[in-house]
Symmetry: C2
Subunit: 698 residues, 2 copies
């Protein structure tokens, strides 16, 4: 059990601000505690002799042996109470009182003090602005919510207190039970990651579920979750997707890696199962806590109803699962056991006159097939089918074969009892085939997660000193942007680029062009010009003799574009034959929660119109980088679609990793685009670079 | 009421094969009828004096005044019974008996006879292999299913009988009612389109819902549905998507227009709302029958729970709806009415201590805002909120403002009563915000459908005689394929193509090349060679002097590829500057249900890797053709993305229409590809064509 164990299983709980006043939070908390808590509750209230018949103390410091304090006093005195807790050696505090960082400057000030005190006295502090905490083994309900939770194996955290009251009321109705429940409140001290860690170590927690609107530290979250999901599945609803989307970073790839893409990537890299709805959250949680993991991703469907069987096949097709294909032996056995006209292929249709015994036979045969990883039992009501007996058959076969099973007993009143019976045994039962398939799908997803290898990122030998010098150029800039003048950053991090030089005279330009073999491109180098082509700041495919005039021309164009323009020079660059390869883009933008997020996509029109990109939170391992190159819809282009030569994917992969290392080494890099990174049959060439640097971070 | 009215409201129903034998279908049907049918039931059974106390007749022909016969006798005698019905002047027959086309050759033979008889006597025949029909106004349950349906406004058709029994049992539990229910069975005579037509004319049917695995005639279905949805919404679950997908046509664009794309297009062109799940089917149906249509697509959310409010905003973001933006007046009024800390923007948070009166105030203010088209009321349980009173508030405000409302009363037992109350009033109530949003979304979708203009396709002046000649070439072929030799088909249908000629000698080739201005392409013309480039059968960008050798070269290559290759000649074609424009593809393949399906997409790699295509069932109107060009993810390319010149979209639009006309005029065209159709700033050029023709259809 983790270090927060006393928070959830205290021997003695003090309620600071306990009262009998109707409607008061302090009264609701007391009542909830007195209702069901198996251990001692001590009210603290200087103005009361006793609360609900229990002697009240004036101050929390008067009470000894308290290992959990629930604070419901007004915001302006909370600080002092916390200090008393600290000096009194109380380790666990839940601040229910609102009026902190969610309520303006003054509140934020108060919250800062809470944090200081918590650090000083090393307190486990939940809240402020929390509904409270619950833990069913001891009947602990230290919330002001209307209901107790039923005991069970789900531990549940929420950044919304209202969401907890709603879910508990609903879950009680559905007979879904919880181990611990925590309303995270403002997360001044303890945040979602602390509870992941705690519940990861808790043998009584089968599944961790949560409702989150944000994450305090994406990196810590990912690290912790990866460790936890080895043993305990995590299913989360992430809310605020659309707002998050609106806050998407401004730069080009930024938009593509909008904050929700970061969460999507972050959650996936953390091994977290993401639910889109409350229903989905609990469907996943329930099957994860009730059923074994599948050994194959192939599903067998056994039904007495053809039509719904087809619907189920569709849902399987829409999921990450496949329909199992039976061995001959299975088909022969089914053919013998089933009547004529029955379908012995998957989905198995035992026909409308099939009773529980025929279901039993079919299930036994199908579950013996090694290709079958999971089973869906699907029924429509008929005159001959006895649901209660069918439920027992399903439970028995599930146990005997230890295969995950989900059921759709389609119907209403007549399936209610068997449905509850199946649920008791941890076998989900729905009306809609989709939900059965989706729940099995999340079982399979967790099975994959358990087997995922999280490699450490490769560390390449790079020249950080040189990189630091180049980045520091921004300190002499109004805008924090760097462009072509930062190409050497690529050298420092071992990313190939075409031969080039930045010159400040037309003659120098020509000399460079003569040295470079083949035609060249000349590009304006100016911090004031972000989109060089739009202002005619680029000329390509020039022979040396054309370069002199081209130089003059683009410099003039730059001046026409903006008379006080700063021109750092003109880059003369060897041409890269784009036709030979594939234009890609590697970009980075910094997500408020997850830090640097790496984006890889096809360049040119693809990135602009089709947003065909792959996203990962840095640092990116080799395995992850390679997957990014495989995720694109247009990935076949790399292996040489349309009779073209395949490009050097290994080099793309290293480039992604090296960029990941660069932005991890330098938090100062806010945004970075290599566009295009041309992938060629024999390596890659970074043709252009653009980045935004925060000088304060240097 | 339509022509099938007697089928659903008969005065006298005969059950042929009526019996008391337990487990017999004839007994179940009799019992269901006797339970609740308000009019007369007559059993027919030569071996019984009476059935359930009613005098039985030997033959159906002995009974007079029957306007509906339910047939449950063994398959081999069904035909004779039907004939008796016909001669006896009975118009409506439901054949429940199975063992017809679903059961091998013999069965198919029997079914053919049914069809002949139905045609001869002009019978409305349901089935065979049907569960039967129901109609609640008269308490008619002429099925052998276990339950009666509750009365209501949904008329329900299903190609799966099991699906009906499952849904009715569930719907009774949910208190969802039906007007008519029909189990379509094998659809030997009456099919889904007949019932669309019938229920479209039925004032008692609010919404038509159905479960379909296939459609008999897509064209008739589209035509009928378009008329029906003006007054009556249609919501369908289309099952068998994945199988359909597997049956996708083989040709290139064929795969892209796989049968499910055809259904997707067909349903959309029919104005049908497609549901993915049973839950979705009934959520849509219920709100469509219970709530008015929104006048704007902007939703206001009023809640006492911040977190769930964010979730709801997400769902709105994922839907076709938007969050309403309130006028200043609304915000001011809310600011006055609501306590400090309340959120007066959308989603409106009236805070956790908000009671029904505060909800009432907020709702009144929000519903007065003209920008608000629909409202979601969202609650988490609190100590102060009285759900029963809240329900009345919601019902009253919904009525007063006549705005569509959906509710999420999040919770379990405590919300059950108010939920039922709201449902009684036609206001949906869910736990999950998604479902509330999705149901409003289908209201909005139906509002759009009602306003959709279905234009007639433009008829262009074309040369069908010439086209027929060209197509008839296949009659002299082993494979039914035509290639470059059919380019003149484009001339016949007014589709521009680059100047070209097919020649059979190197000298002729050179002469043509000299006549054409600019470089040329030479391409092998052979029915045996489908992919010309792969066998080196194409040379491009040639000057006239190069053409002679090129001719010899590609002809030799063709012979090396296959020694008995048929070479019809070599095409010498003016080059089209692809760089100047955008490569697109226009294709057609024939769907078993919907007939010719037109596909438009970007050409080259896009079509191959990204499947960025738009699909419509032909004939395609100008409006539809234009929408196709706008649907592509890459559509901005046409208006000149990345500083390129915009292309001639009008010409693309006419080309799509002309191709649509071509394949409608000639059912013999099984598949057709124009690839590429190069869209240029000043028109389009069809560079290559490939088609498959069915000679028997010529």
């Amino acid at each position: 059990m983790g270090e927060l164990s006393d928070l959830f299983s205290p021997d003695r709980v003090a309620v600071v601000g306990a009262t009998e006043r109707p409607g008061a939070v302090g009264a609701a908390v007391m009542r909830n505690l007195l209702d069901s808590f198996e251990r001692e509750v001590v009210p603290v209230n200087p103005n009361a002799e006793s609360v609900f018949g229990i002697e009240a103390h004036d101050r929390i410091s008067d009470v000894t042996g308290v290992d959990l304090a629930i604070v419901t006093v007004p915001p302006d005195v909370v600080g002092d109470v916390i200090e008393e807790c600290g000096t009194g050696g109380i380790d666990n505090v839940v601040v229910i009182t609102a009026g902190f960082s969610e309520a303006g400057r003054e509140g934020a000030e108060r919250e800062r003090r809470l944090v200081e005190l918590a650090t000083e006295y090393d307190l486990n502090l939940v809240g402020p602005n929390s509904l409270g905490v619950m833990s069913t083994p001891l009947g602990l309900n230290a919330t002001f919510g209307p209901d107790d939770a039923l005991p069970g194996g789900l531990s549940f955290m929420s950044q919304s207190g209202a969401f907890i009251t709603a879910v508990i009321d609903w879950a009680n109705d559905q007979r879904i039970g919880f181990k611990d429940v925590v309303s995270l409140g403002n997360e001044a001290v303890l945040d979602e990651t602390d509870f992941l860690r705690e519940w990861g170590d808790d043998p009584e927690t089968d599944v961790i579920i949560g409702y989150l609107e944000g994450i305090t530290s994406g990196q810590a979250f990912i690290e912790t979750a990866r460790a936890v999901v080895r043993e305990t599945p995590i299913v989360l609803v992430k809310s605020g997707r659309t707002e998050a989307g609106a806050q998407a970073a401004s730069s080009h790839t930024g938009t593509l890696a909008g904050s929700d893409r970061a969460y999507e990537a972050g959650f996936e890299q953390a091994g977290v199962i993401r639910a889109e709805s409350v229903e989905g959250l609990f469907d996943s949680a329930q099957i994860l806590s009730g059923q074994p993991l599948p050994e194959t991703e192939n599903v067998a469907v056994v039904t007495n109803a053809g039509g719904p069987g087809v619907m189920t096949t569709d849902s399987v097709g829409d999921s990450s699962l496949s329909m199992a294909s039976f061995g001959d032996d299975t088909e022969n056995r089914l053919r013998e056991a089933m009547p004529d006209g029955a379908n012995v292929n998957n989905p198995v249709d035992i026909l409308g006159d099939g009773d529980d015994e025929r279901f039993e036979e079919a299930l036994q045969i199908v579950m013996d097939d090694d290709d079958v990883g999971a089973v869906i039992v699907l029924t429509a009501p008929t005159a001959v089918l006895e649901y209660d007996r069918l439920a027992e058959v399903i439970i028995a076969e599930q146990r005997r074969h230890e295969l995950p099973v989900a059921t759709c007993l389609m119907g209403g009143t007549r399936v209610r009892a068997p449905r509850e019976r199946l649920n008791e045994e941890g076998i989900p039962c729905y009306f809609d085939p989709d939900r059965a398939v989706d729940s099995l799908d999340s079982l399979a997803e967790y099975a994959r997660i358990r087997e995922t290898q999280w490699d450490d990122p490769t560390t390449f030998d790079v020249d950080t000193t040189r990189a630091a010098e180049i980045l520091s150029q921004v300190e002499r800039r109004e805008h924090n942007r760097l462009g072509l003048e930062a190409m050497e950053l690529l050298d420092a991090y071992g990313i190939p680029r075409p031969e080039s030089e930045i010159v400040t005279s037309a003659d120098a330009a020509r000399r460079v062009a003569e040295r470079i073999d083949g035609p060249v491109a000349v590009k304006i180098v100016s911090p004031d010009i972000v989109h060089k082509t739009d202002v005619g700041g680029v000329r390509v495919g020039l022979d040396p003799e054309e370069v002199h005039d081209a130089y003059e021309e683009i410099v003039t164009r730059a001046r026409n574009y903006q008379d006080d323009v700063t021109v750092l020079g003109v880059q003369v660059q060897a041409m890269v034959d784009v036709e030979e390869g594939v234009e890609t883009i590697v970009g980075v933008n910094r997500d408020p929660q997850f830090g640097p997020v790496v984006v890889f996509g096809l360049g040119g029109i693809f990135v602009e119109l089709l947003a065909d990109t792959a996203v990962r939170v840095a640092p990116v391992s080799e395995r992850e980088a390679r997957t990014m190159t495989q995720e694109l819809r247009a990935a076949p282009m790399f292996s040489g679609a349309r009779g073209r030569e395949a490009v050097d994917v290994d080099r793309i992969v290293t480039t992604i990793q090296r960029i990941s290392q660069l932005v991890t080494d330098f938090p100062a890099i806010v945004e970075l685009d290599i566009n295009p990174l041309v992938a060629l049959p024999d390596g890659v060439q970074a043709v252009d670079i653009r980045l935004t640097v925060d000088p304060d971070e240097l």
